[in-house]
């Protein structure tokens, strides 16, 4: 059928988009913006029991230049917000952002003068995770949602 039958065994055809998205989605390296309690659950997410390596995301890169997904874990202070934004700006495109926990998503229980009420005030957030702190399973779910999102994107067409 089609081009594949004329090429013979050992070949298959796909779209460049699909191949790129498949590769990207299974190697989404997180940038762990570990701020507060959620950072401990983020460690558990990478740790032995929950094992983010199953999704190709065990490689925590503390350098923004090498990472794809920023996980904002914890409440965001005004003083820290500037540092987070600078790190976000340094990450290469394409990039995604997970707001982990109630504090990062909306300010959560910390409704007070020091905390930015949700990191979407200065970051484009792709996935919000509820919970205070969320269980590692919930973070894995958010990661899978990000993977779904990557798989449905037009990656090559947009890049050119």
């Amino acid at each position: 059928m089609g081009i594949e039958s004329s090429l013979g065994d050992g070949y298959f055809t796909t779209k460049v988009d699909a191949l790129t998205n498949w590769a990207r989605s299974n190697a989404a390296w997180p940038m762990p913006m570990g701020l507060a309690c959620c950072a401990i659950e983020m460690m558990a997410f990478a740790g032995p029991k929950y094992d983010a390596a199953r999704f190709g995301s065990e490689v925590m890169r503390f350098s923004p230049r090498q990472s794809d997904v920023m996980i904002v874990a914890g409440w965001v202070n005004y003083k820290m917000a500037h540092a987070i934004r600078r790190i976000w700006d340094q990450m290469p495109d394409p990039k995604w952002c997970i707001a982990m926990g109630a504090c990062a998503s909306t300010g959560g229980m910390h409704r007070c003068y020091g905390v930015v009420q949700g990191c979407d005030n200065f970051l484009p957030v792709d996935a919000y995770v509820s919970g205070c702190p969320p269980r590692p399973d919930a973070l894995l779910h958010a990661l899978m949602k990000i993977q779904d999102k990557i798989r449905t994107e037009h990656s090559v067409m947009l890049d050119t």
């Binding site: 005004y78 934004r85 700006d89 409704r111 003068y113 005030n121 200065f122």
Partner: protein
Amino acid sequence: MDLELSDTLKNVVDGLSDQFSDSFIEVYQSTGDTFIRVEADAVVDICRYLKSTHHFIYLTDLFGTDRFTSEERFEVVYHLISLRDRERFFLKVLLPEEDPQLESVSDIWKSASWMEREVYDMFGVHFNNHPDFRRIFMPEDYDYHPMRKEFPLLGIPGSIELPSTTPDTE
């Protein structure tokens, strides 16, 4: 109210009322803790005396309180511990609302340095002769002292900047 002072604290109270009779104001107890109030201008001498004579060598905490009264509005509390006598008490001074100032005790206990900065940051009490006097939690550009009672819990809108959402040009 009757006081139930241990021997160590009795010595401290006797010593203070003897040596610093002008500055010693009162001693009282509340739920088992002892508080000694002294005049603000003698606090450095009193602290030095307590450290050298009564062996209160460990300053574990120093904090401010906003009483929100018209006079003597701010309160600074020194929390002292004597490891030798296994005793703790609180030394208090009261400060006026207008331009609250106090001498720093950071050359007596080095640990006072950050705690005094915290009191300044939260209440705006100035400490003179402090080696490194800056805000500690809030950025230096911030104009308010958040722990004062008139400051709203949610802060003052627009008083502190959010990062710009357009990427840097560099």
